[in-house]
Symmetry: C2
Subunit: 157 residues, 2 copies
């Protein structure tokens, strides 16, 4: 478990690969985002995207699945996620996820927690970003007596 | 299909109900967001949320599923989605989704499209919001000769 103290501003980690398939795009969309251009390859081929693309929700889900391969943060709550979709995610894309800690500050009122802003980029095998995520998370500080994790850590002011 | 012209600023629509269950929260999280506090009720009960909560991705997916019950918009692309999580979504929640068109403007360079900002609120049976979504979408204008839909529409300046 990684606590507030364990995230150094500027530190970054990349995980992957998740390979998108047409079958997964259609199956996910059928269940959660059944818009015609996500569930039907023919309709998709005549759409402005000219082919199947993963729904925003599916793309976000792939990022979350890759993120879960990193050691978990001692999260108290997700406050906000900003998702940008600069390019479509398509069948055959081999996706990796890079997460960077870009900002952190301790809570002013509660010493057991702090706010961290993470920036994530889900990119395909060409390095083209298909989703950029900026997340504000409330993360626990390390409980007294809890051992520090075996990774670089840095106290922030 | 609803085109750019069919969305009036200020117009709103509500759909529902999606009832969250512990089984669905755990099944979704196991597949897409397997953080310990989303997949294990015991760990969740000892977490800061004091019980199971739907992951951000799952909550967003429920909103998309409810949205799909509305007549589809002639979307060209999702540009950005901002997700806020003001309160947790929990087993037993009966969720409804309200979508409001809050801003629109025609493209300056391409007459076949325009930008629309939508605000969505996913709320439980007590009216408590569990997710607020602000989405910027690129939407097609109605093709020449295409019949107007049977709903109030208004031309914007």
């Amino acid at each position: 478990m990684r606590y507030f103290e364990d995230f150094a501003v500027g530190s970054s980690q990349t995980v992957g690969v998740h390979e998108l398939t047409a079958e997964e795009i259609i199956a996910f969309a059928r269940e959660w985002d059944p818009q015609p251009w996500h569930v039907d390859a023919d309709i998709a081929s005549r759409s402005p995207m000219k082919g199947l693309t993963a729904s925003s929700v599916h793309t976000y889900a792939v990022a979350a699945r890759l993120l879960s391969r990193m050691e978990p943060a001692a999260g108290i709550a997700s406050i906000r996620h900003e998702l940008e979709l600069p390019n479509p995610a398509r069948p055959g894309d081999r996706l990796t996820f890079t997460m960077t800690c870009v900002e952190k500050r301790p809570s002013e009122s509660k010493p057991d927690r702090g706010l961290i802003t993470f920036e994530g980029v889900l990119a395909n095998q060409h390095g083209t970003p298909v989703m950029k995520i900026r997340s504000l998370m409330l993360v626990k500080t390390r409980p007294a007596g809890s051992p520090s994790v075996a990774r670089p850590s840095r106290k922030e002011d």
